[in-house]
Assembly symmetry: C2
Homo-oligomer: 672 residues x 2
């Protein structure tokens, strides 16, 4: 019988044994007597049973009891132990003398260790000689779903929601499989509803939905995942019938006290709330002349007694900007709103900061809030839903970009100053930090629209757990797990994934200028699409040059960074060229390090990007006999659309700049 949806990287097809099967005939579990429930442990054991039987043809027999009863008897087998010396979520996998041991600080550690072991099996790597201890680098590893309760998904490119159908919450087999999938990559927190809370979603914190939300939270809890909800800051008005939501107003505070007591009584597992306030039309503290901290702290104080957190989005800017106003720079807005209140947030507030100061472009500077906010818990927000990066039609493997962001040195201190250091807590020593991704799944049969886009979901989770992994390591793992061990498949897809971001960047917007997309939809080119709009995202191209002056002579965004970054970006000669137009307004005749003029670079990169998109298509064609027909054809269809899109980008961008600059292509290629 055909399955309703694919298994992604948990496909558990038959594998080479690689000497692994022998460990799993007998499994000995010890030390968990005192745990109140064993539901996560049960999930881990269930996964082991499924994985071993399907991949290795071995059905494990599980023995449990006190540790002291067992210790000496184990000669060959798999021992699972609670080790109080290990911190929560940490696992240790060791093999000695035929005995494979998984030790963990708590149930969740067992689950992550189990998935580590299953990955080795799936990749046909011998477990013999294993000696690994691993703690997750980010305390919070979160997915943000932008699912609406009518079933639609804001910026969703892979079907409808599998959480919500017609304003009802669905809990079924797919929910559980989804929990398995994301637990397997180390996700421990999930927001199920859109940050833009509207319509029925406002009622998620009422009796209408409590029962179902609680049921959902239990499914996730069994996989070590805490459920969070996006919260409408205006709830006291929208569902409470009040006429203010001023966070310092006692009646508002009292309303929230009651509401939270009700919520946590009904959904005790709830991890907390994600709040988008004062952003793109959402109400917030600014409406009442309060600070962002006033808003966040009010909620944080109330939920503290339930051991919950308030995740507060930093995406605050004026979306009613006048395009004529060249002084105002949207890039400056986040820092300007939050820097003044750095140090005033409660400890259970986490500021969720997008990777760049604009909005998930294919290339932008790293947000100055990283390094800028030195006394505030921060969570990095990335977007694996490819809103501006091809919408899961065009191939764009994002781990190389995420790697760059994580490795960015903020110079906020002498050492341990990268974004990775900040969000792991290494920099400032805080524990309420982490990373979140706006996720890319939907109810499509293959979960992510483009089969290859699943590498971004897999990659995000793996990177969140282990911030030291390289984009290539992750890609290789994902391919092996998903498609098995065929070197032709592995090498070809690896090559495609690893170049895909560069290719997408080449045929879209050049050198960090960003945007140039079809308004609202954000797919396909429209060079002037946002140029005369209220959204604050301009390229400022005229007949002489292009780019946004964010230097000290311009909007001075550069000064939001620590030195030497400020000076580096401020000087056109030292500014990294991939960000040249993000920081500078540059003449078309400016000569780049390559010896090319800017305008020639624009032409060349667009012609080359298109050619390389075509090459992607050709490379995929070589896999026709190596992959299931279903997979092959789904990706083939996407690549056809990508090539058409790349052609459109090439021609519109080149034509626009030829018409505007009047400078012909040196190579005389066709520009319209």
């Amino acid at each position: 019988m055909e399955e309703k949806y694919t298994r992604l990287w948990l496909n558990y097809a038959k594998r080479e044994d690689a000497g692994n099967g022998r460990f799993f005939k007998n499994v000995y579990v010890t030390g968990f007597e005192k745990e109140e429930t064993f539901s996560v442990l049960q999930s881990a054991l269930g996964e082991l049973t499924r994985g071993c039987s399907e991949m290795l043809g071995v059905l494990p027999i599980v023995h449990s009891g006190k540790q002291e009863d067992r210790e000496e008897t184990i000669k060959e087998g798999f021992a699972i132990k609670l080790d109080p010396a290990l911190s929560e979520e940490t696992y240790k996998v060791r093999e000695e003398g035929g005995c494979l041991t998984l030790s963990a600080g708590c149930e969740a550690g067992v689950l992550y260790g189990m998935f580590h072991i299953l990955r080795q099996i799936a990749m046909e790597k011998p477990l013999a000689g294993s000696c690994v201890t691993k703690s997750p680098d980010c305390p919070y590893r979160m997915l943000n779903h932008w699912d609406n309760m009518d079933g639609s998904i804001e910026r969703g490119y892979s079907g409808e929601s599998f959480f919500f159908v017609d304003n009802e919450i669905v809990v079924d087999e797919r929910t559980r499989d989804y929990a398995r999938l994301i637990a397997s990559i180390g996700i421990n927190a999930i927001v199920i509803n859109n940050v833009n809370v509207k319509n029925a979603a406002s009622l998620l914190i009422t009796d209408t939905y409590f029962e179902k939300v609680a049921e959902l939270s239990r499914v996730f809890a069994e996989y070590g995942i805490a459920l969070y909800l996006s919260l409408n800051f205006a709830s006291p008005m929208e569902i409470g019938g009040m006429n203010t939501v001023d966070p310092l107003e006692p009646s508002v505070i009292a309303w929230w006290e009651d509401k939270m007591a009700e919520i946590f009584a009904k959904i005790p597992n709830l991890g907390g709330f994600l709040v988008k306030a004062d952003s793109e039309g959402r109400p917030g503290p600014f409406t009442y002349n309060r600070t962002q901290a006033d808003g966040a702290n009010m909620l944080a104080d109330i939920v503290k007694k339930y051991d919950a957190r308030i995740i507060w989005r930093a995406f605050v800017y004026n979306c009613q900007q006048d395009w004529r106003d060249t002084k105002t720079d949207r890039a400056c807005a986040g820092y300007n709103s939050f820097k003044p209140v750095d140090g005033t947030f409660r400890d259970n507030v986490i500021l969720q900061v997008k990777n760049g100061p604009m909005d998930f472009q294919i290339r932008e500077g790293v947000s100055s809030l990283f390094g800028g906010m030195e006394k505030t818990n921060e969570m990095l927000e990335v977007q694996i839903a490819q809103e501006y990066t091809g919408q899961q039609i065009d191939l764009c493997y994002l781990m190389p970009m995420f790697r760059e962001i994580l490795d960015f040195k903020t110079y906020c201190r002498k050492e341990n100053d990268t974004v990775a250091d900040i969000i792991s807590g290494r920099c400032f020593g805080n524990t309420n930090v982490g990373i979140a991704a706006v996720t890319n799944t939907g109810n499509d049969r293959n979960w992510t629209g483009n089969d290859l886009a699943a590498a971004n979901l897999y990659g995000f989770g793996r990177l969140a757990f282990d911030l030291s992994l390289s984009a290539e390591e992750i890609a290789r793992e994902w391919i092996l797990l998903t498609y098995g061990n065929d070197p032709v498949v592995t090498d070809t897809i690896l090559d495609m994934l690893m170049h895909s971001r560069e290719i997408y960047e080449q045929y879209t917007s050049p050198l960090g200028v960003g945007w140039m997309v079809t308004p609202h939809y954000h797919y396909g080119p429209f060079v002037d699409g946002y140029e005369y709009s209220r959204w604050g995202c301009y390229h400022r191209a005229d007949h002489l040059g292009i780019g946004i002056d964010r230097t000290k002579e311009g909007s001075d965004y550069v000064s939001q960074y620590h030195e030497p970054n400020t000076s580096l970006y401020n000087d056109i000669n030292t500014c990294p060229e991939e960000l040249l137009l993000f920081f500078h307004h540059v003449p078309y005749t400016h000569v780049l390090k390559s010896g090319k003029t800017l305008i020639q670079h624009i032409y060349d990169s667009h012609f080359e990007g298109y050619e390389r998109a075509l090459l992607l298509q050709q490379k995929w064609a070589t896999l026709k006999d190596h992959l299931p027909a279903e997979v092959y054809h789904r990706v083939e269809e996407r690549l056809i659309r990508q090539v058409a899109n790349a052609r459109e980008w090439r021609d519109q961008v080149n034509t626009y700049f030829l018409r505007k600059s009047g400078i012909p292509d040196e190579k005389g290629r066709t520009i319209y």
Copy 2:
């Protein structure tokens, strides 16, 4: 009690008598004994009663009987007579010795004559000495509603439909008042549903709606108005379950035979059908490699026995054009599709041709199908719904534009060759000709969104009836009827209306280039909005110049005209400057007759257009104490929006061209 909607130009407020009251104490009706019904006559008498009592305080007593019984007895009074010597719809109004006589060829003529008399009363003009005989110039004077059955109106800017609510047909007091309003300006045909026939509208020709459509048709018939329906050419598939709609396929023809028999049995008053085929995604004969004539004639042959007509829209072009393709010109498409089949259409087919070859822009050349089609019945289609001309927010009185179109000499023959000659039948001697407007009404309290936009509805009807009227005469009539006889009001509004089109043109797209609007919505500027799209409407601006080359060296659209128009348009030196960029690609440095360069003209006209929009607002402000507060404030609110729109147009267009050309404004004004 406040009325639910305004009375527009039939306001019937108290007027100066001007010696008119004395005629209407006694009304003598003779000669109508043989008419089968007197419903139209009844409507005329009802209107007289209402008008005289409200405007003059006179309640007419109607005496009817044989002519010979009455003739000598009438000393003073109003005589209404059937005069078989007059053609249908013609009226004659004469006053001699205290007796006012209205003679007409049939009931409809009485109705039109009655409204003529009521207009004189409302304008306080003495009827004494009247001596006028008037036949309508256009046999068909039609309104096209683009109302959808869910209540929305495609390109509607004044609320929802008053015909359809939630897929039900509404017939109520407003329906009858609407019939009165449009009959009063001479409309004799109406299409109630959108030319894009979809969803429930496909069922208008089924049992589901027959009863209500028939009821509606009777209401209109009482005012001399024939009801038409937009027809879905794909009906045999959509509601008939067939798998083809090939117009030469016998089973398709048989299906239509049966369907039409059913329709006309149920709705005997029906005038016929309007069909949009092979246009913007609508199915049509081209799908089956048939000509447009094959499609139209098939239907026309079937409905001939019911004395009905097929109105076939000529708006056929490729809306999947590649913007890179500079050879293809949408302007050429209509002529290319229809010219080869000129002379092959049945006599009860009327080709409905938009005034220009593009789409209702503020300025474009007159369609080459006028004069081009010498053996086909034609109906001119104009749009008083201001899709591209301000959407009933911005003031744009369209009669000056319509006047130009009507007066356009096609040179298709030595004399009587204007568009007015063609659509009145004077040119080719045909009677199935006329004029249609995509109308501008909705269920807004004031019917047309902007109160002043009602001048376009009024004007269209009056012009359709009398093609010789000037834009100014019509405007003056409308103001007097609507707002009464206050010279300050009349002079101010007349001035505003008469300059409004020029002002709108000045601040929007220059010299006939058109478009530059926000895609899909068509309100507000977006210079490149359609430049890289599939819709065939481009401006082709680069750093040196702008405009579409439609000369013999370009798309050769000019050759679709008769000489000397072809040569006139082909030569940049003789081409009328207001159409310069419609026919030529012109350098920014080209010197216009004014002595200004093209680029300077663009800047100047945009600055001036904005200033003049501001002036409109100031002029309106002077009327504050002269008009009802409700009217004053509604229009004021629109003018505020118009000024904001004009500012946006000025700044975006000027900025775009300064950035692109690099040529500064001579006067050094602010361009961003």
